[in-house]
């Protein structure tokens, strides 16, 4: 898979002893935003069917952000450059991490603690507008940890979006 938040989520849930089903579900829910990115990009960058299949694999936060914010004439260049750059470096880093995992003491190096910080880093740019949803997700997960099996509290955090969904369409919080 090439979508960092989902990758982290699956590893996080499995690493915490959660079930595979909970891990996959959390990762897929996180991946839904990429479908929305793709809709935006398909509109912005018309291309052949075959190219769309390739573009789909590299439709992520970074490539979409660059394509959408670049001047219209550079949107395609921005999208593909970012996509290829992140794709190569991200997967190289993942490979190095997997290859080196057995040789280092991840706890002594604090790497387990860095995972939480990494999630916060992914969350940070979204906090400005959606602070209430973030707070809701955190509270739900915190209350769920003592009573539900590992992995499920993360999924349950998704209910924090319900108030926004149940609000009449067009109303801003």
């Amino acid at each position: 898979m090439f979508t960092g938040a989902s990758q982290f989520a699956l590893v996080g849930v499995l690493g915490a002893g959660g079930s595979a089903v909970a891990g996959v579900a959390a990762a897929l829910l996180l991946g839904t935003r990429n479908a929305m990115y793709a809709v935006t990009l398909a509109h912005l960058l018309p291309m052949s069917r075959r190219r769309r299949l390739v573009a789909a694999q590299v439709t992520i936060d970074e490539s979409t952000a660059v394509a959408v914010t670049a001047p219209r004439s550079l949107a395609g260049v921005g999208f593909w450059t970012t996509a290829v750059g992140v794709y190569v470096l991200w997967n190289l880093a993942t490979f190095l991490g997997a290859a080196g995992a057995a040789t280092v003491d991840t706890t002594a190096l604090g790497l387990d603690a860095a995972v939480g910080a990494a999630f916060l880093g992914l969350l940070w740019p979204r906090l400005g507008k959606h602070r209430r949803v973030a707070l809701g997700g955190a509270v739900v997960a915190a209350f769920a940890v003592p009573v539900l099996p590992a992995g499920v509290p993360v999924l349950l955090a998704a209910v924090a979006v319900l108030p926004a969904l149940l609000r009449p369409v067009g109303e801003e919080p």
Binding site: M1, T3, T32, M36, A42, A113, A117, G121, G137
Partner: protein, 99 residues
């Protein structure tokens, strides 16, 4: 089991992206669908932070990981790059554990 989960997630995540590129925009551009796709990552990431930082089996604990999160938050507030933030967070936890 783990590889099945990895493969399923990989296929599913790719399918979600392909659906966005091929499905007529009007199907996915309903306001509620867009709201859900925008907000779900926020709620889930927030839940992941809590579980990852304070979760210990079925208990909530405050340990070196909380200090690492705080250090990470300071880095983000200072607008330092993602990688720097992750390294500072790891180093914070490693230092506290070594004491």
């Amino acid at each position: 089991m783990i590889w099945t989960a990895v493969l399923l997630t990989a296929v599913g995540c790719y399918a979600l992206k392909v659906s966005g590129w091929f499905v007529p925009a009007s199907w996915l551009e309903r306001p509620r669908v867009r709201t859900a796709a925008t907000l779900l990552p926020v709620a889930l990431l927030s839940g992941l932070v809590v579980v990852q930082v304070f979760g210990s089996g079925r208990n909530l604990v405050v340990d070196a990981r909380a200090a690492a999160l705080l250090a990470g938050a300071v880095c983000l507030w200072l607008r330092l790059p993602f990688l720097v933030m992750v390294v500072v967070a790891a180093a914070t936890a490693a230092t506290i554990r070594a004491l």
